[in-house]
């Protein structure tokens, strides 16, 4: 395992949002802004902003990284841009009453399908399914959180079916 792969997550984090030059195996060199470094494989994800808003992403595999040099510390603007890259689009903003209606409608649908669901959290905004999955507003399939993939997938399909019927 190379020296790069042996670094700790906190050390890797010091490179994020900075512009670096990476020297890799077989004399390859890459330059770009560090979006992230995967803690599992130590892969370095570099982003280069090309003309007309396009983005070029280069990822150097952790085992091939020989040297990483910081060439630019970067600024807040770059940090913001990188933070929003790959993030899902902001969902349409729903009003409070609309959200309550969506929540009740979903809760009823789940109960009709014999799935135990409770409301929890401050102001009871979050739905909790069988104690292992939570659904946050606006209660779409992407708003589910669970460590159990099977239940996650089942509930997501149910929600999708429910929304399709509206």
């Amino acid at each position: 395992m190379s020296e790069w792969q042996r670094k700790s997550p906190l050390e890797w984090q010091t490179y994020v949002n900075k512009e670096v030059k990476v020297t890799a195996a077989e004399k390859h060199e890459y330059k770009g802004w560090v979006l992230t470094i995967d803690p599992v494989s130590a892969n370095v994800v570099l982003v280069k902003l090309v003309e007309d808003g396009k983005v070029c992403v280069s990822v150097i595999l952790g085992h091939a990284v020989q040297k990483v040099e910081i060439v630019n510390e970067g600024d807040d603007e770059m940090k913001e841009r990188l933070a929003h890259l790959f993030m899902p689009e902001e969902s349409k903003a729903y009003g409070h009453e609309e959200l309550v209606k969506r929540k009740s409608s979903l809760k009823t649908w789940l109960e009709t399908n014999h799935i135990p669901v409770t409301e929890q959290g401050e102001s009871q905004r979050t739905l909790c399914v069988a104690g292992v999955l939570t659904i946050d507003p606006p209660y779409g399939p992407e708003d589910c959180s669970s460590s159990n993939e099977i239940i996650l997938s089942r509930v997501q399909s149910l929600i999708q079916g429910h929304l399709a019927m509206q």
Partner: protein, 126 residues
């Protein structure tokens, strides 16, 4: 006296009880680097900070993988081999990439599995 019923024990999944990334799973031990990087035994606050860093870094990487799906990726491999393909999926330990329509000098492979240990870098445009 009742005759006991024989019990069939089904084999466990590769990751034991969970499907999460498990550094102790036999598969990970066999196929990837010897240890997962960590500061080892630090105090609790430091370990928590380290785990927060790991979470933030991993989330961004997973989202970057997700963004690759359906795009054409160019892979730079060892021995000056360059190929391109549509990205389909990665395994949880980032040891293999599943791709389709892999363009190689020998022809196009409809479906293929690329070993990450053979890849130096990969790039795509968004």
């Amino acid at each position: 006296m009742k005759v006991p019923v024989s019990v069939i024990r089904l084999p466990r999944g590769p990751d034991g009880t969970s499907r999460g990334f498990d550094p102790n799973s036999p598969r990970y031990q066999a196929l990837s680097p010897i240890s997962i990087s960590t500061m080892g035994c630090g105090n609790e606050a430091d370990l928590e900070q380290e785990q927060q860093a790991r979470v933030a870094l991993r989330e961004r990487y997973l989202r970057s993988l997700f963004a690759m799906v359906g795009h054409t990726i160019h892979f730079t491999m060892y021995e000056r081999v360059n190929v391109s393909a549509f990205f389909d999926a990665s395994d949880i330990d980032i040891l293999n990439f599943q791709v389709s329509d892999l363009q190689t000098p020998l022809g196009v492979h409809r479906e293929a599995l690329l070993r990450c240990s053979d890849i130096i870098s990969y790039t795509f445009e968004l």
